[in-house]
Symmetry: C2
Subunit: 345 residues, 2 copies
Amino acid sequence: MANLILALDAMSGDKGPHIIVPAALQALASNPQLRLLLVGIPEILNPLLADQRAELRDRLQIIPAEYAIANDMKPLQAIRQSKGSSMRIALELVKSGQAQACISAGNTAVLMGLAKLLLKTIHGIERPALTTILPNQKQGKTVVLDLGANVNCNSQMLVQFAVMGSVMAEEIAHISNPRVALLNIGEEESKGLDNIREAASILKATPSINYIGYVEGNELLTGKTDVFVCDGFAGNVTLKTMEGVIRVILSLVKSSTTENKISSWLMKLIKPWLQKRITKRFGHLDPDQYNGASLLGLQGIVIKSHGAANQKAFKAAIEQAIQAVEKQIPNRIATRLNTLLPKSD
Amino acid sequence: MANLILALDAMSGDKGPHIIVPAALQALASNPQLRLLLVGIPEILNPLLADQRAELRDRLQIIPAEYAIANDMKPLQAIRQSKGSSMRIALELVKSGQAQACISAGNTAVLMGLAKLLLKTIHGIERPALTTILPNQKQGKTVVLDLGANVNCNSQMLVQFAVMGSVMAEEIAHISNPRVALLNIGEEESKGLDNIREAASILKATPSINYIGYVEGNELLTGKTDVFVCDGFAGNVTLKTMEGVIRVILSLVKSSTTENKISSWLMKLIKPWLQKRITKRFGHLDPDQYNGASLLGLQGIVIKSHGAANQKAFKAAIEQAIQAVEKQIPNRIATRLNTLLPKSD
């Protein structure tokens, strides 16, 4: 692919340019067609780029911004005052077509609000949804949305998430006729919240969606469904819980102490080997490796990175953006929605 | 403790009396002061009790019921038609004082509705909450509520859950001045749903509650808070996600295959030992071992078992009921609420 240009909000996230710049250089090194627009304060970015290989430096352009939106600002206020911020400028580069996608590790609510304001949603989509693809127990992939962009969702929004998730499952995870399920607190039809029950009856009546019913939180990683649909509150809770449990288990294994000399000796012998095995088996669930949630439903590609992302994780978010550009996800969603929406003559 | 009498809804759960009767006998064997009222259809229960040791059989009485409430019945309809059901009779035994607590593995919504109808809530509590105690990474305990009894919660209900959870943490987990946090999708004050933000401001102004702020799903097992408060939808999602992730990881470890002969030989040698270690480290997170959620806030003790509980898990629920009786949890909650509620002269 010629001329793949992404804009990075280089000031965003807990560690800002100190992890974003090295991640950018790494992404440039592994993607020869990639060009990056690094949006941020030049005085901070320039020193981080000194002594870089000319071949990489040439494909990287600094786009000046005045400041970064602080993570703890109230979203409405942050959006109102966003002119000149690195996040806004990165989004404007997508809007003007100078970049094909942008990536930010900034505040989710602000990114969501600004993206909606500047890029607009696809016709038929009320609100964008934060979407990720998780590996599952069956060696497959599960598309999960919304992960926190919308804490209150009506039934129509859940149905729109189902459509967008199906397109992601088909295009990015290569699943044909992907199964779609709604997260609920039981499998019986009478369970849960009104919006979920309403969404279920709409999805049942939508032949182009392969709706299979409700799933509970314990099915997040089992591969029972290809698309896991929920409101942003529940989605954030289930994803964060998963991350927390994996971290606790990995840390317990790593820190395991031993009770007697023989097992201590044996443990010392096999521990490095064991750790490698565990990383190999569970590493694909490591937040660093699946970092980068797509803000689906916009007329443009926006990828949200974890605020706490490290270099490896931010690079994963850049790779996600590249994939989304290659697959033209917004166009595919728009096309799919056209087949579902009532035609106006 | 003399005369500890519990009523068991012996017809409830996926496997009904076939796991409940053996669990009951096991609980009797390990608790010499315990007496059990087995509520169910005598023709089904009697054969399961044949050839039992007289010493156990003597402390077990069958209380006839006509039928079991089916798990997939609509809650309102099930409650309306509940006369003669094993669940209702078990609750009535608590109401009349013939039993000090009851345990059911039946439908949560029906148990919740019937318990509220028959036993009434404690003065100051709008709705009971399903509560469990999870082990955490710091070798401590975390009280989590609500786990699914109330899908819609206003701020007052969340505050009441905080009070009840604090009492559980003090009495059952022996934590003095327990820290209380609200589950949210971020730690900033502006995050989340209105009811959560309102509950936060009430809790901040309540000196007898040690409120520490918001936590996210990834803190469920870290021990950052002693009491983890959420609405029933989010609570169910976080608990089920935790269970699902643990099951997936344990099954991945158990089924791990090996790539070459040397590691295959080594794996065969250490696999049983490794499995024992993992069970020892993570076994305390096994749903079988913490089964039994208290329906807190009622004028009586009601324990909900997992519908899918096996014998070991149902016995754990019986042990939970014994503890709740010994600690007089409903009285302690009522006393605590008295100190919080405005006095009427």
